[in-house]
Symmetry: C2
Subunit: 351 residues, 2 copies
DNA sequence: ACTAAATATGCTCGTATAGAGCATATTGGA
DNA sequence: TCCAATATGCTCTATACGAGCATATTTAGT
């Protein structure tokens, strides 16, 4: 690790004093892959940029844009990411942040262990979806196509009651290894908490936990590819969202979780908005990401009161009613408040 | 990246259709290092486990426990981490979570670029500091020794007024490249927001931002090692906290940030507590991490009201006054509330 | 031109919660 | 025995937030 980079330390003769292993352990090199979940909101629909390819063994076609990290070319992970996203899709990224580093074998792994080891570092990027302008590759697809149970904009999604809940109940009742049930929370409780069953409130930030639960329960198609579910058992199930290749759906789930969390304490919505917008458009964007939360009047009070926006002076007509005042992001808020964001609190248990 | 692991896709002949580069880009392999910020609270002092070694060029001796990740031995990053932490320090980790993946060259880099490229993945682990029991290596050291400006338990730290504020002011007034001042926030504003100057409130979560600012301003010793500050300029400055080797102080800053944030919405304090404790002890632990926040009565109301603890029935005498009731962590709270934590809100601007 | 529907916007009220202070209980030690 | 120190309970107040009512302006339809 870094130690060696600084180049100052001499190898200590006494092994137990310092690192347990020899330096040449670092010779066990792996490839570094960068995956980008590039998110926008287009016509009130949250979309991610995906690339389509040949179907894999479970019929998954979509991947997130990805590329290798070459430390010789790029000084930082982020600059490497920006560079090849630009090359590959024609998109110039604005806001980007690191999500998580995944390295599990076992997940999305070859049965034979001969493939090179790769660690993938997931990134989240937020951008405006100004049409498909300049996109040389890839397409925008609603993230709710991959996670239909996350879309609460028209109330509680049918798919939870119809497909998910009964199957998770069955999974919870299936006998399980004793070791699992002891340390961690029981399956039934996990399912209840994740999906807001039995009157438990829905937590929109638990996107990753929900997907992981479905994966563990063998309900995500990817579980079949990874050999967690017998093929026979797999075929007669309803599709719970579009699968993606490799573990990209997990990375996208992480991205959605992060976006939903961050929007509340950082002004990241504005990365998704044009320069000028109405408060209603802003609200629809927030709701596209989080689900319906606030009623209009309170939302106005919230964003104006927090100093997040300022009127441009113009109005937008042809809205179907009274013209709406146009606003812009008030950047000064970054200099004023320590954690400005659209502080919508938890919804009152729309179970 | 993962694509190759799944082993299903054939290389597409048309390069622009998919990845911009050839698969052999992944041959550009790097070493993976795991760094652990292992945190405990010992006698009301937040401590991190560090290992001492030979002084480097700036006299830094301490490193965080670290080791290589060998994907052939370990299925996940976390299991690799747990394994060598056990081997190296004798400590069995309980709670652990991934922090961030660092790969910057330039930071903590050799002047000559011949050293192997290493990506380091930082982890945060929380544990009880039951003496030095069973520690085969390493020592516990207060994290405020590395970050004295973070310790607000006895009011605003002197070091901010005396050493940091004037130097940051000078740095802010120094001429800067136009490119920097345009896009990002001005230096003076960054300093004000990070360190709560000019009446701006102190945000205890901005630990990493503050350290990065000091580093950029050439006030962290590590900046001298990385060649960001001329040696002459460096020698006549007060030490702003103990430096660490490589970029370990940055990783520790990330760990503190995460701990301070997470304690508010997840019951992670209890990872640091013994099984039974008084509410005053719990409060002291929280304050060791965050700084003094709540007055006693409200803290009691908070944790009891949230259902985070339950009385054991016993009391602890010899507290110097009326015996205190003993409490234990109420695990059921995990099944009840979506985000249980010690929800202390921002302090009322103790500037 | 007039009306209905749709949207934008302002105001108020009740409840929940957090910050702060006062009061009381129970101990150890001078 | 009394005081100092700690533990614990209660109340008051300001604020934030969810929710509903009321009004202003526009478009679409007759």
């Amino acid at each position: 690790m870094n130690m060696e980079l600084s180049g100052r330390r001499k190898p200590t003769p006494d092994k137990s004093q310092r690192a347990p292993d020899d330096e040449q352990d670092y010779e066990i090199s792996v490839g570094i892959g960068l995956n980008a979940a590039i998110v926008a909101v287009s016509e009130n629909e949250p979309v991610a940029l995906v690339v389509r390819g040949e179907p894999d063994s479970i019929g998954a076609t979509d991947v997130l844009p990805y590329g290798p990290f070459n430390p010789r070319e790029h000084r930082t992970l982020e600059s490497g990411l920006r560079s090849w996203v630009q090359d590959q899709t024609g998109l110039e990224l604005g806001y980007a942040e690191q999500l998580y580093t995944f390295a599990d074998r076992g997940r999305h792994a070859d049965p034979d262990d001969t493939s090179p080891h790769v660690v993938s570092i997931g990134y989240l990027a937020l951008t405006q979806a100004i049409g498909h302008h300049g996109l040389t590759n890839g397409l925008w697809r609603s993230w709710y196509q991959y996670f239909p149970w996350e879309d609460w904009r028209r109330g509680r999604p049918e798919i939870i009651t119809r497909d998910i809940e009964p199957r998770l109940k069955a999974w919870a009742e299936r006998p399980t290894a004793a070791s699992t049930s002891q340390t961690s929370i029981a399956r039934a409780d996990r399912a209840r908490i994740c999906f807001g069953l039995n009157g438990t409130s829905w937590d929109e930030e638990k996107v990753l936990e929900r997907f992981e639960l479905l994966y563990e329960a063998g309900l995500a198609d990817e579980a079949a590819r990874d050999g967690r579910v017998a093929a026979r058992e797999w075929t007669d199930r309803p599709k719970l969202g579009l699968p993606m290749q490799a573990d990209h759906r997990r990375i996208l789930a992480t991205a959605i979780s992060r976006t939903r969390a961050k929007i509340k304490y950082r002004p990241v919505v504005f990365e998704l908005m044009p320069d000028e917008f109405t408060l209603y458009e802003l609200q629809k964007t927030v709701e596209a990401i989080l689900g319906p939360h606030l009623h209009k009047q309170n939302f106005r009070r919230l964003v104006e009161g927090a100093g997040l926006v300022e009127p441009t002076g113009d109005v937008k007509t042809r809205t179907g009613g009274r013209p709406a005042k146009l606003f812009r992001f008030r950047r000064e808020v970054l200099l004023e408040r320590p954690a400005p964001g659209v502080r919508v609190s938890a919804p009152p248990s729309r179970a």
